[in-house]
Point group: C2
Chain length 404, copies 2
């Protein structure tokens, strides 16, 4: 059987007219003789409305009932899609997690799919049926409804693709694919045809809009080809696949930039084990998200300087937490608001010398000062003045030939 898993996000099923469009997309795959497994999210807005209701009921709304509540949204979307396919004369039905079942473990609101019973769905596929499976939900070993924390319906789709050995998992959403950089920031941004799992993970700040990183990681671990595309326009999207499948030959795949970051440097921190942990523990407790962390080697073996970035709005709170922290010693605290992290990402840089130099030279030519540098195998990130972000983005996008 040639199986394909099609996942439709909330905006793809947000209106009745869009659900009709979704039914057409499914029909087209059926015409190509695929066995189609569909996964749907709730109609856009529905889940948020249910969450709002739960908060009005209680500020500490029960986790178990939360899962019962919000999972109703996918139930509605799936029945409407099935109903539309039936209307077109196609054999289709909705499948809720308990009917398959899809088993999860872990806590409520944050469960993971561990097993999918294949027999009923396989039988249904063989009979020519198109199952419309409620994403985001499962049941646990007590027959309670659970929801998949991170990844949501994307995670459901990836796991279904894994268990049913699907040829491909297509994620339909409201964007046309993954772009070389955020098209809202740079009009010249181009849709990427193919991207490796690893690059996609590094591009999380772009990728999160199309797919949760945790689901990309699931796809990577199970070697599932994932195509991200729009349900509104008939154009090919972006294929997320393994490195060896990539036929394009670009050194750099994409560029990401952040807004509204702040930089904090602790000068003269004692260079001994546990210091970094002592610095970050109170921040983590207050849910302050630390992004880039850079620490140079100690010049004198006793002291070092530690720099990290956070969101601008957390700067004051972070400053106070550090000042009030009795467990750490440092000579001076340097704060800088209004910085931006710029990253170039590409598996090509592993085998291509001089990428780092080209990036730095490009920025230097534009008289943009680099404050901090951090690199991984397939990514180089620099911290620059926020006001230079656009200029840097344009220059690098051109330098690495992403405009074409």
């Amino acid at each position: 059987m040639r199986i394909v898993v099609l996942k439709f996000g909330g905006t793809s099923v947000g209106k009745i007219s869009k659900i009709k469009k979704v039914a057409e997309i499914i029909e087209n795959y059926k015409k190509k003789k695929y066995k189609v497994i569909v996964v749907s999210s709730a109609m856009s807005g529905v889940t948020n409305d249910l969450i709002k209701k739960s908060k009005e009921i209680s500020k500490n709304f029960s986790d178990t009932e939360y899962d019962v509540l919000v999972s109703s949204g996918e139930q509605v979307a799936c029945s409407l899609i099935s109903g539309r396919l039936n209307h077109k004369g196609l054999k289709s039905r909705s499948w809720l997690a308990w009917q398959i079942p899809v088993y999860t473990e872990g806590f409520h609101k944050n469960s993971r799919i561990i097993k999918i019973n294949k027999s009923k769905i396989l039988k249904y596929l063989k009979e020519g049926g198109t199952p419309i499976i409620a994403g985001f939900q499962g049941i646990n070993n007590k027959d309670r409804i659970t929801t998949i924390g991170r990844g949501g319906s994307d995670a459901s789709a990836i796991m279904l693709a894994k268990f049913f050995k699907a040829e491909r998992c297509v994620i339909y959403t409201d964007v046309e694919g993954v772009y070389t950089t955020d098209p809202n920031k740079l009009k010249k941004a181009k849709k990427i045809k193919e991207i490796s799992y690893e690059e996609m993970l590094e591009m999380a700040s772009l990728g999160a809009k199309v797919m949760q990183p945790v689901s990309i990681q699931d796809a990577r671990l199970n070697r599932i080809d994932v195509e991200v595309k729009s349900s509104f326009v008939r154009k090919s999207g972006t294929l997320i696949t393994k490195k060896s499948n990539i036929t394009q030959n670009k050194i750099i795949t994409g560029i990401t930039s952040t807004n509204n970051d702040a930089k904090i440097t602790l000068l003269g921190v004692k260079d001994k084990p546990g210091v970094a942990a002592s610095i970050f523990k109170p921040l983590s407790e207050k849910s302050i998200n630390v992004d880039m962390v850079v620490q140079n080697i100690s010049a004198n073996g006793k002291e070092t300087d530690l720099t990290f970035t956070i969101k601008s709005e957390d700067l004051n709170k972070t400053k106070n937490l550090i000042k009030d922290n009795k467990k750490i010693n440092f000579r001076k605290l340097v704060l800088e608001n209004g910085v931006s992290k710029l990253s170039i990402i590409g598996v090509g840089m592993v085998t291509t010398p001089g990428v780092t130099f080209r990036m730095f030279q490009t920025l230097a030519n534009k008289r943009i000062n680099i404050k901090v540098i951090s690199t991984s195998e397939i990514k180089i990130s620099v911290l620059i003045d926020k006001k230079n972000t656009k200029k840097a983005l344009v220059a690098l996008h051109k330098e690495f030939k992403l405009d074409k």
Copy 2:
């Protein structure tokens, strides 16, 4: 165990503030040491909105998917009620039909509950839990979600009361109980304290607003005491029970009246078997609801007169259907629009002579002409001019001492 089943209708859970009120009502029963089983409808408006969506998807929306779609409404309401009880520190959880299970048979959209697996709920009650059970839904022997056609959540509540041998089934709704007559038509209408199942069934035109006749019949067959009351005001409602439990001593329990009826008389119909069926078959096919049917004995053994009532708006359609009906013969067709059916109901009339006379005398005193008379053991219905309805209602309400 002293078990009570509490059923909350759509308006009782129509807003978050009302759900909080519902949680208080449940808490009060718990304080009285009852084991409480709760059945909830969907929040008012939700089911209609879902049905509207289904119609937009297809004019022939699949029955199986319809059940999946609309049953989601009860799921939401139940999780919110449970969440609120949890918030108050009470042990409670939602139970969907498949989790219990509640088994049904019959067609989708119109199933009947045939069995309720008691073990899990009994265990939960013994542990001190308050189960909030989704009304209106069940599953069939193929593990598909079904909905209960007529009666809806009321039927669920009555069947739960039956299977769990509940002391009482309380139907919470947006009216305070059953009245001697429609309070919108007669301000002097009084709330009835106790009423027999049989009277309640005869008062369907009033009763339908508080409870579906099919559920009253279920309660009657299973001898379940049903209390209808408001979830908004703390007042006792109306107890629907068996005749022998009725402590009140009124001859007449209530008076009902219809609006916008039309009367059709076929004069000189052939008096032979099958004629009535031939008359009503085409009406039934066009979903024209025939209410009162009266046929006198044949004076000459050959011909008879047949009178029946329908809704005013169906008069023209009905006239044409009768004229076009080749299977029947009659001498003359007499049509009259603007009539009203007035009924007095009460088990007391069985043992009290002269009730019929008193009704007719009362109307005669007011110079109200009686067009047609039809009686059952506990009901007398007359057809009068619509313009006299209010006058007749007032006079009869007084005559049978219902004002007090």
